[in-house]
Amino acid sequence: MLTVRGVSKRYGSVLANDGIDLTLNAGEVHALLGENGAGKSTLSKIIYGYTRPDAGEILLGGEPARLRSPRDARALGIGMVFQNFMLIPALSVLENVALFLKDLPLVLDQEGIAGRIRAIGGRFGLQVDPHALVRQLSVGDRQKVEILKLLLAEARILIFDEPTKVLAPHEVEGLFQVFAALKAEGYAILFITHKLREVVACADRITVLRQGRVAGGFGPGEAQVGTLVKMMFGESGGEAPAATAPVGGGTRPILELRGASARGAGSETTLQGLNLTIHEGEVLGLAGVSGSGQKELGDLILGLRPLTGGSRWFRGEDASSWSIARLRERGVAFVPEDALAMAAVPGMSVRENLSLGTGAVYRRGLAVDWRALEAAMGASFEALAFPMPPLDSPIAALSGGNLQRVVIAREMAHGPSLIIALYPTRGLDARSAASVRDLLRRARDGGAGVLFISEDLEELAEMSDRLLVLFQGALVGEFPRGSWRLEDVGRLMTGSEEVAGV
């Protein structure tokens, strides 16, 4: 149905796609497999018309296709389900779908559209209430709306960009069933992912990308996990998660939450009666589907969110009403997912950013003691073996990984005793992510307590000495290292199993 021939695309010095060939057939699930940065996103954007290739062409049904914009792609029946849904939370499912319909009449026929949504939803296992507001839907349901949008817009080729990233294991099952139903009716599905197990479970055909090139392709039933891994990562075989030995001793609690509750406004999650302890020298992992309250919990511990019930204890002292500044002074550090949005000020230089959050430590009269600050920060960078970027450069000019390193150096400069890491490796390339994890482990070895919040179960498996599961604002499971399976945690994450432990 759709053929990609010799497509190449360069972004500056990076050759994102290099002479790629790929064929999508009707009635087939074709998986596009590759590590982060292998070029999958770029290729999908080209197929969808978001960007134009430097070389190569795309053929639809044998004829070359002019894809100048997503509009052209949609007209040709190509639809894409993005990672960040193109949905409008304030509008209803019906309105979101209507927005993308090809034959929308001047006056909206709401009942008619609702009927079509229900019909198609039933046929492919995508049931949603057409009149519900998108902001009230769970992430899994929102994905269904995205798919419905495409189907009702008469797409025949569906591209899914990392669709399972936001789903729990058994929701993934549901998605694969949808794939099967679509396949049966002759749709072509391009399934982009980096998760091997899923690919082996549902794909008919597999293309592996590595560093912008096609590293290999497999027909139905030909692929094996081992071969795929070698292809994705090259000879080194990728990273085997280091199984670190749990640190013995050091069981003094640093932070305790006793029956802590916090009210969430609007789309935020309300936390109910949480009991949680973080000890010295431990990495406490927190798993949960996005929107379970992880951010709210992190904010609660940091002092950003007020307690509406229960108490918070820091090293045995009642810290329930401490301000953020006080908690930071006592050694609480924060490593966020999006440093530029949450922990750095874009308009300022690196130097100025480093001076923030240190309270009055580097003071000279009314001004800042820059020399002392630079000395202390320099020492911190050295201790972490990070290169220190030029202090006068604007912080917005740094890459994601470097920015994260600056934030970490700043946070670690005063030897924190509690580190709250909220999706700290999100958006980082593999090497930076590994170095962040390594750093957090070293902090733990030095006696700090680390709260490690992540959506990546493999990462959590590697890092956590203990694992907690958060679901809809409540803690529903606790597991010591090595005592849990992916499926158990997955079920707890989606509330489909009863509390086991906490």
Binding site: P70, P89, L99, F100, V107, L108
Partner: protein, 306 residues
Amino acid sequence: MMTPLALGVLAGAVLSGTSLLYATLGETLVERSGIVNLGLEGVLLMGASVGFSVTAVTGNPWIGLAAAALTGGLANALFGWLVVLRKANQLASGLAMMFFGFGLSALVGAPHVGAVIVGLPKWRPAWLAALPWVSASTLFNYDLLTWLALPVALLVWWVLFKTRWGLGVRAVGESPGAAYASGRNPAVLQFQALGFGGVLAGLAGAHLSLSLTLTWAEYMTAGRGFIAIALVIFSKWNPLRAVAGALLFGGAEALQLQLQARGSLISPFILDMMPYVLTLLVLLAWGGSRRLAAPAGLGRTFFGSE
């Protein structure tokens, strides 16, 4: 039965609220597309002065009305050029429009200060006039703009929520990215919303000088533009609720006028403060929760963050 004061206030509320309602409806359309026009005050003034001046020159209030509507549309188009095409800061651009309106309206209106004009004709259906408590007041003795106020509000509501165009406008206001992904041109939709909104604002201004008072004076809108902007928030960007809001604030103004006319002992200055203080109190009481009802695209401009 209703007292003369109550009748007076009710009648005054409708008269006063007419221009507020049109201004609020216009701004609602514009804000639904993701743009805030803080210079609404200037647009109203331009409509008032152009309407008055053209009427004074031609002797025909309908031509004046049409000119005012056109002026409003053009003013908003200028604003759109700045904000949509040149991507200028919305708040600063709005204030620039306000200044522009102050000055241009003064220039246009200056030669006609004190002119006597024939305003918009008013009429009242006979069966209503027959009712005793109606005939004694100005109730239901309205000009065309006031008679059409409610239907226009309904029309704006219907267009926004029941038509393809309205859906597109709301989509742009919530997420220009999604609107673009659906094959629409956000800029075009915003300009269209600005155009219609401007026409409504021009009509609102004209009502002040062609019907409510038959005069022109500099700054005669006295902050109505800002009250309208507050009303948009108060009515949660819903044209139907705007009717209630306009009546409420029109009533406050009418009450103050009635009290002054009856020789109330309260200083006229204190009474003059009422609309603004009331607006502030209303926003205070309900403002915090309004943020969630706002079109998402307004967030950065209006609320400074998120």
